[in-house]
C-alpha cells in the first residue's frame, strides 16, 4: 500500500487526484479484507446468473443441428435450464459447434467466435466438431474445432442425443460454477 504523494506533493491535477484516491481506495479494500468479503457474497450470485442464462449461438451446421433443435423442442425443453438460442454472436456466451467445419467455413466460424463477448465458452457437439468424425483425413473438413478454437466441453456421439447435449450444458454449468471469479474492483 503506497500512500506517498510523490511526485505530486506540491500540486495535483484532478486526473492525478482521482487516480491516487482510487488506488488508495482499492488498496484499502484489499488490505482490510472488504474485497474478499464482498466477493464471497457476490460471486455465487454472478455464477448463478451466468449458469442459468446460457445463451448459445443459433448456428446449426449439419445433422447435429437437428438434435440441437430437438433438445430445445418441447420434448426435452432446454429452455427450462435457461438455454435460449440467440441469433447474434454479440448476445451469446456459448458457441455450440454442431457439424463438420470445412476449410471454407473455418474463418467465418473463427470470426463468430471472436465477435462473442467475454466470458464465453465453446461446446463441440458430435464427432465432426470434435475430430472430423467420419471425414477423417478429408481434403476439406477440419479435423476438430479445437484446432482453431479453444473448446470447453466435448459432447461425443454421431449425432449425440438431445439428453447428451443437455448433459453437456449441465457439465458447462459445473464448469462455470467452478471457474467464476470475484469481480469486485476488478475492472
Amino acid at each position: 500500500m503506497d500512500l506517498s504523494l510523490a511526485p505530486n506533493a506540491i500540486a495535483m491535477s484532478v486526473r492525478e487526484f482521482v487516480k491516487w484516491s482510487s488506488e488508495l481506495f482499492d488498496d484499502l479494500m484489499r488490505a482490510t479484507g472488504v474485497k474478499r468479503a464482498v466477493d464471497k457474497i457476490t460471486t455465487p450470485i454472478w455464477s448463478w446468473s451466468l449458469r442459468n442464462s446460457i445463451f448459445p449461438l443459433h448456428f446449426g451446421i449439419a445433422c447435429c443441428a437437428l438434435e440441437m433443435a430437438a433438445s430445445s423442442a418441447p420434448r426435452w425443453d432446454a429452455e427450462r435450464f435457461g438455454i435460449v438460442y440467440r441469433s447474434s454472436p454479440r448476445q451469446c456466451d456459448v458457441l455450440l459447434v454442431n457439424g463438420w467445419v470445412t476449410t471454407k467455413l473455418r474463418p467465418d466460424l473463427r470470426r463468430l467466435y471472436e465477435q462473442m463477448p467475454e466470458p464465453k465458452w465453446v461446446i463441440a457437439m458430435g464427432e465432426c466438431a470434435i475430430s472430423g468424425g467420419p471425414w477423417y483425413d478429408s481434403h476439406t473438413v477440419v479435423q476438430g474445432v479445437d484446432t482453431f478454437i479453444p473448446v470447453d466441453i466435448y459432447v461425443p456421439g454421431c449425432p449425440p442425443r438431445p439428453e447428451a447435449l443437455l448433459d453437456g450444458f449441465l457439465k458447462l454449468q459445473d464448469k462455470i460454477r467452478a471457474s467464476t471469479k470475484g469481480r469486485f474492483l476488478e475492472d
Partner: protein, 158 residues
C-alpha cells in the same frame, strides 16, 4: 407424345436420334448402346460443342442433367447426361481427354444449367472448360492448391 412409358418397339425415338447423329457426324461419335430411354455414346473432344449444338437445336435435347469428370489415371473423361422432354430419353456422352491437357469446350453457352456442373468438374478435377463465362472454384476456397478428386491426389493428415 405417346404414353407407353418410352418402351417402344423398333423405329423408336432412340434409334431415330442415333441415326440423325450418325448422319450428321459420320466420324467422331461412337454409339455404345441403346437401352429403353437411354443412349450411350462416345465423342471426340474436337466436335463436342458442335455435337451438343446439334443435339440442342435439331434434336430438342433441352436439359443438361449432369456434366462431370472421371479420372481414369491414363486419361480424363468428361461425361454429359443430356435429357429431353420431347424425346423422353437421356443421352450419355463420354469424352476422353488427355491427362496432361485437360481442356474441353464448355457447353454453358448452350445450356445455362451446365455452368455450375462445369465449375464443379474444374474444382475437383482441374478440367478446364474453354469459353466458360466464369471458370472459378465453386466448393473449395479460392486459394486451394490441389484438385482433390484426381487419383494422384494423396491425402495426408492435415
Amino acid at each position: 407424345m405417346n404414353s407407353t412409358g418410352g418402351l417402344e418397339t423398333s423405329g423408336s425415338t432412340e434409334e431415330a436420334i442415333v441415326d440423325a447423329v450418325r448422319k450428321t457426324f459420320p466420324d467422331g461419335v461412337t454409339i455404345g448402346g441403346i437401352a429403353p430411354r437411354r443412349i450411350f455414346a462416345r465423342a471426340d473432344r474436337a466436335i463436342i460443342y458442335k455435337l451438343c449444338e446439334f443435339l440442342k437445336n435439331e434434336l430438342k435435347f433441352d436439359h443438361v442433367s449432369c456434366v462431370t469428370g472421371v479420372d481414369r489415371i491414363d486419361r480424363f473423361q468428361v461425361v454429359y447426361h443430356l435429357s429431353s422432354y420431347e424425346n423422353r430419353c437421356v443421352l450419355e456422352i463420354t469424352v476422353d481427354i488427355p491427362h496432361d491437357d485437360p481442356e474441353i469446350d464448355s457447353v454453358t453457352p448452350l445450356w445455362g444449367g451446365a455452368n455450375w456442373h462445369e465449375r464443379e468438374a474444374y474444382d475437383m478435377f482441374g478440367i478446364r472448360f474453354k469459353n466458360h463465362p466464369r471458370l472459378e472454384r465453386i466448393f473449395l476456397p479460392e486459394d486451394t492448391q490441389y484438385f482433390p478428386f484426381r487419383k494422384d491426389f494423396k491425402l495426408g493428415r492435415q
